[in-house]
């Protein structure tokens, strides 16, 4: 069999989704999203050096519904990647490899990210005086 035609593993069409595999790919996807978030941070900082109008344009974009959606996604991505990163650090120490533990810590990371995302956004809206 030629090297290019080797079957890929896992076979994605028939592979049963599990919390382990779903969280693993979510870690990668949130990581990719967060590097785009780094570009948003750079845009924020650099726009301020171009003066008040440029900075206001950046603030208006981030305050628009599209901007808020992006920031909401980035907030969740950050908490998830951070929480799951700590889970990975545990594995690096050889801790938490039992299937039941992998499941429990995985659910904990999801709950942690959702709760902290909501708290962060609640705090933001509270500061705006909208709550």
């Amino acid at each position: 069999m030629a090297a290019q035609n080797r079957p890929l593993s896992p076979h994605l069409q028939i592979y049963k989704k599990q919390i382990t595999s779903v969280l693993s790919i979510t870690h990668r996807m949130t990581g990719i999203a967060l590097t785009i978030g780094a570009l948003v941070l750079s845009y924020w900082l650099i726009s301020a050096t171009y003066g008040p109008e440029a900075f206001q344009a950046a603030q208006s974009f981030m305050g628009s519904w599209l901007g808020r959606l992006v920031l909401l996604g980035l907030t969740f991505s950050l908490y998830f990647h951070l929480g799951n990163g700590v889970r990975h650090l545990g594995w690096d120490f050889g801790k938490g490899f039992a299937l039941s533990q992998v499941r429990t810590t995985g659910i904990a990371v999801v709950v942690f990210s959702i709760v902290l995302t909501l708290l962060t956004w609640f705090a933001g809206y509270a500061l705006l005086g909208d709550v």
Binding site: A38, A48, H88
Partner: protein, 127 residues
């Protein structure tokens, strides 16, 4: 059975042609980003709806410029290490793979340097 040569084993090089260094730096930057990213989220929430003047003041205040510079360096370093693994895993053609890796590495350094320059400029004035 170990298929590696004695020299290869001594260098500890794996499939990424890099070995331990990549893994360790990813952990190190990840650990640094725990406090840095949480500090940044806290600060960003405080800056909701901030004016230009308020933002510039915040950037230059107290330890903020140092923390911001550390955040930018760590975030782009960690980010390019992560993207490198994603490209190595999913892009199979040797040409596109190397082109993307160069783009990612150069991009991280460019945007990192530009952001640090912006932080310094906002801190020391000039715009």
């Amino acid at each position: 059975m170990d298929m590696r040569s004695p020299l290869g084993r001594a260098r500890g090089l794996g499939s990424s042609n890099d070995g331990f260094g990549h893994w360790w730096m990813q952990r190190l930057t990840g650990i640094a980003l725990l406090p840095l990213s949480l500090w940044f989220v806290y600060s960003a929430v405080q800056l909701t709806g901030a004016s230009h003047a308020e933002f510039v003041t915040w950037v230059g205040e107290h330890g903020n410029p140092v923390l911001l510079i550390l955040l930018v360096i760590t975030i782009y370093h960690h980010g390019q290490l992560g993207l490198q693994v994603v490209v190595e895993d999913y892009i199979h053609g040797e040409g596109p793979k190397i082109a993307l890796l160069i783009l990612i590495k150069f991009g991280a350094i460019f945007f990192g340097a530009s952001s640090i320059f912006a932080i310094l400029r906002l801190t020391f004035g000039g715009s």
